[in-house]
């Protein structure tokens, strides 16, 4: 199986006033094509930091990251990120131009070609009706849909998502999770997804990479490729959820929900 991402013995330090602080310690993983790897752990486990280093925003202190066999040295459109923040859509561009922009600057598409691709991608996430609107008129859920469409349209080697649904209300979050899964089934993209929600991790991921906090170290991994939306709320799903909770937070049942 060819791996799209290979992270080898990754350690990342943050500079603070009191000297460097280790955020990620000796973490290794690979992501195969069409796989959905979820980095899961409590806050402070360095999961977002790992994602940012795959994106090329942060340089690891030691170890390296290969994407399609090439070492990551800087940010690039082969690794597009969906952020948690709603202001990731550029407010001065219409929804369609937000999606078309990376196609033009990073993929060298002509204006008309980029617009057509953007419209197709927006139709896929159910935003065909608002393509000419500016982002500030959209709801939070619609903004995150547009951001997903923007990343999908450029067909990157890998999609990186940094808690994209964390700021949404529960109902919208549920809908977007299911829609993301449907898109993944259809398009078979490769995804690295960061979350602190255990249920979201089981639902979205095909494999979970559990991290402990301060510093972020690998605890274990779980194969969840057989569990999807259909199993949500089933005894099997709940048992796995409970097992992961115990693994992350010790043996105190229900201590940290």
């Amino acid at each position: 199986m060819s791996s799209v991402i290979e992270a080898r013995r990754l350690s990342i330090d943050y500079d603070t006033e009191h000297g460097p602080v280790r955020a990620v310690d000796n973490v290794s993983f690979t992501v195969a094509r069409s796989e959905r790897l979820v980095l899961l752990g409590p806050s402070g486990c360095g999961k977002s930091t790992i994602l940012k280093s795959i994106a090329g925003f942060i340089r690891p202190s030691s170890g390296d990251i290969l994407v399609e066999g090439r070492a990551v040295t800087k940010p690039g459109p082969d690794r597009l990120v969906v952020f948690q923040e709603f202001d990731q859509l550029l407010p001065w561009k219409t929804v369609r131009d937000n999606v078309a922009f990376p196609l033009k600057v990073a993929r060298g598409k002509s204006g008309a070609e980029a617009r057509a691709l953007a419209e197709a991608a927006l139709a896929k996430v159910g935003l065909a009706r608002v393509i000419k609107d500016y982002p500030h008129t959209l709801s939070g859920g619609m903004k995150q849909r547009a951001a997903i469409a923007r990343a999908l349209a450029a067909s990157p080697e890998v999609l990186l998502m940094d808690e994209p649904f964390a700021a949404l209300d529960a109902l919208t979050r549920g809908t977007l999770q299911h829609d993301l899964l449907a898109l993944a089934e259809e398009l078979q993209f490769t995804l690295v997804f960061v979350t602190h929600s255990i249920d979201e991790a089981i639902l979205i991921g095909t494999r979970l990479h559990l991290l402990s906090a301060h510093p972020g170290r690998t605890i274990t991994t779980f194969d969840t490729s057989g569990i999807g939306a259909a199993q949500l709320g089933s005894p099997q799903f709940r048992a796995l959820s409970e097992e992961i909770r115990h693994t992350l937070f010790g043996r105190r049942s229900g201590a940290a929900a």
Binding site: G56, F57, L90, G126, L127, R129, Y134, H136, T172
Partner: protein, 281 residues
């Protein structure tokens, strides 16, 4: 996707309702503005009639007559044009210098410190106070006026633009870098649009400073311009006790200020930052 039916109609109603609300607001704002101006004119007319001393306080109608007269038969139009010509030269030069300065400050820590220090030093210094020195250096003429104009615009504009660049949200920066944008393309397509509300406010402040500095400079050192400007027009008519013409000159200063504020800056804001929801109307 399954829930676009549930989500989309809400947003569609929201955006069209907002558009309707906005146009209604703009119309009523225009009505209110005219109402305020008309009330001021009426009060002025009443006060002048009551005072009955055109030498001290010419009435609104006398001033309008003098304005009309000045435009048709005297040099009010050419004086205004002369002032505006110098103003635009100084303003544009200051913007150019400001952009270069801010670009350097964004790229280099030493330049950043220089910008912050120089702005702190020169921003509180009234530009008009530099005019005597400027005339010593550059003589009586346009160069001296442009020098003080640049001084009056450069610092507030550079400060506002620099602050705007500094407060570009991290998410916008990360999105731009994620696309592999660097250098001039990064500045042009991410930093400048994201900082546009601050840049526009810097342009407005700079314009107001430039206009008042120029009129003051012409009033005090009127002959320094090759042709007499608007300030000189006011000064000359005050010496000859043509108070209605002094008022006509002042009205001209105010009119141009209003036109630039509402006709230019507000119009630019309406199609940019307010349309994009980056600034409330």
């Amino acid at each position: 996707m399954t829930d676009h039916i549930a989500e989309a109609p809400i947003a569609a109603t929201g955006s069209s309702a907002r558009r309707l609300h906005w146009s209604a607001l703009r119309r009523s704002a225009m009505v209110r503005r005219v109402l305020v101006l008309a009330t001021l004119a009426l009060l002025w007319q009443l006060a002048a009639t009551f005072t009955a001393s055109p030498l001290l306080l010419p009435s609104f109608t006398q001033t309008m007559t003098a304005l009309w007269d000045g435009l048709l038969h005297e040099n009010l139009a050419s004086a205004t044009a002369a002032s505006l010509g110098i103003l635009i030269k100084g303003y544009l030069l200051a913007l150019l210098l400001g952009l270069i300065f801010v670009s350097l400050a964004t790229a280099n820590a030493l330049c950043r410190e220089a910008l912050i220090t120089l702005t702190a030093m020169f921003n509180p210094l009234p530009a008009i106070a530099l005019l005597p020195l400027a005339m010593l250096w550059f003589g009586l003429g346009e160069t001296s006026l442009i020098f003080v104009l640049v001084h009056s615009v450069l610092w507030p504009f550079a400060l506002a633009t620099f602050t705007g660049f500094q407060s570009v949200p991290d998410t916008h920066r990360l999105v731009g870098r994620n696309y592999g944008l660097t250098g001039a393309r990064y500045v042009g397509s991410i930093l400048i649009p994201s900082a546009l509300p601050s840049i526009l406010s810097g342009l407005k402040i700079g314009w107001a400073f430039a206009w008042r500095t120029l009129i003051a400079a012409e009033l005090v050192f009127g002959v320094s311009a090759s042709q007499g400007g608007l300030g000189w027009f006011i000064f000359r008519n005050r010496n000859e006790l043509f108070t209605d013409k002094v008022f006509a000159g002042l009205i001209m200063v105010i009119l141009i200020g209003l036109i630039v504020e509402f006709g230019l800056f507000r119009a630019i804001e309406a199609v940019t930052v307010r349309r994009w929801g980056m600034q409330r109307g």
